[in-house]
Symmetry: C2
Subunit: 211 residues, 2 copies
DNA sequence: TAGATTGTTAATCGATTAACAATC
DNA sequence: TAGATTGTTAATCGATTAACAATC
């Protein structure tokens, strides 16, 4: 999709927060909202909310504000949640399992197709309804299935080689839970690094530097 | 600690990346580095690296650069990793277990003291060497133990009430893995929200809006 | 109609980058 | 000494906030 203005990364990071707020409001049976109400709920300025939303389109109306069901659909559409996405999980250690069980993928139009591991005792089992296959058969399986996003949760020492392998298969996106920074240098897929240590360290900084 | 300039949030977010890079360099037996070398490795500008580091102190030397062991210690100290921190885990579902098993807390001077749950079948067991106690005894236990950081991994519907409870116990920091935004409004502790959906949604956005 | 609230333009603020004197 | 590289100051760039005409 093309927008009139280039969209800043900060704006993208705020979209999920708008989404969750709108879902919460809809859950309360609310019909309409305003940039001011959203801003107060999220600790932002009304200007920022309007700027963010107006970058993608004119979803509001003067004197009225925003219709919640409409805006909710639009925000989902901006994020691409109107498109069905398929997911595969590589590595079913503690993190892989947690990601298979923790999120409600169906609610946001994702479908987890399969998981892969090298450990004999998990191959052939199911985790949360998702079959676990032998990692040895990955190449053939990926050739047969269209996967949009791969959850990478293998041990750190295997992270780079498995990521390159996935990249070779033409994987469009990798959600990387290994604590290895997968720079997109030699890969042509979208990568999101989730390093829990970073999160813990910044928390620790603010803990030790409270105002 | 007090610094000459107010430190921006973006700078704090980059510190863990410097830390990991320096550890990697040290692991290769490297003795010294420069802002240019670090910038190239991290995809930043040398100016940014120097600005970030100089905000905390003068760790480099003209004509030489930075001594890796020294800078590594300094970055750890800025983040507060020279101080030993204690952790408790509340909720031992898939995420709680994963956080107990995934991270090497000892390497960064953290000590996980205990985990809590309400489920009979896990109470009394150990996860990765950490004892799981009955959540009913939390108040007494927290009165007896100094905990710096609580990993919150209870079901979403209990998130807010358990967080308030922890806040009442005087918990200094909460690392929040429930998909509930714990605004710091009514709580006087530092909170870090980790909502995996946000991460997945932004990944999806960039997947659908590749350049 | 009057009041409310948008989308947008202009003003402000902060963060990043560039330049360079200091000096190892 | 000459070359390299810092820390810092100034310049640029981008993001946030404020203001307001348009209009529901």
């Amino acid at each position: 999709m093309k927008y009139k203005t280039p969209i800043s990364h900060n704006t993208i990071l705020r979209l999920p927060r708008y989404l969750h707020l709108l879902e919460e409001m809809q859950g309360r049976g609310q019909e309409r909202t305003s940039s001011t109400e959203m801003a107060i709920a999220l600790g932002m300025t009304p200007s920022q909310v309007r700027q963010d939303l107006a970058a993608f389109g004119n979803y509001g109306a003067q004197g009225y504000g925003y219709n919640i069901p409409v805006l909710l659909q639009e925000v989902k559409k901006i994020l691409g949640l109107h498109i069905r996405h398929t997911i595969a999980v590589v590595g079913t250690g503690c993190i892989g399992r947690a990601m298979l069980e923790h999120l409600d993928y169906e609610s946001y139009n994702y479908k987890v197709l399969a998981a892969f591991d090298v450990r004999e005792d998990v191959i052939g089992t199911e985790i949360n309804g998702v079959p676990v296959y032998d990692a040895a058969g990955m190449e053939a399986w990926f050739a047969d299935h269209d996967v949009d996003i791969c959850i990478l949760a293998v041990p750190a020492e295997k992270a780079r080689s498995v990521a390159k392998q996935l990249s070779r298969y033409g994987m469009p996106a990798i959600w990387n839970f290994t604590n290895v920074d997968l720079t997109q240098k030699d890969m042509h897929c979208v990568v999101q690094n989730v390093d829990f240590r970073n999160s813990l360290f910044t928390l620790t900084y603010y803990l030790e530097n409270k105002t």
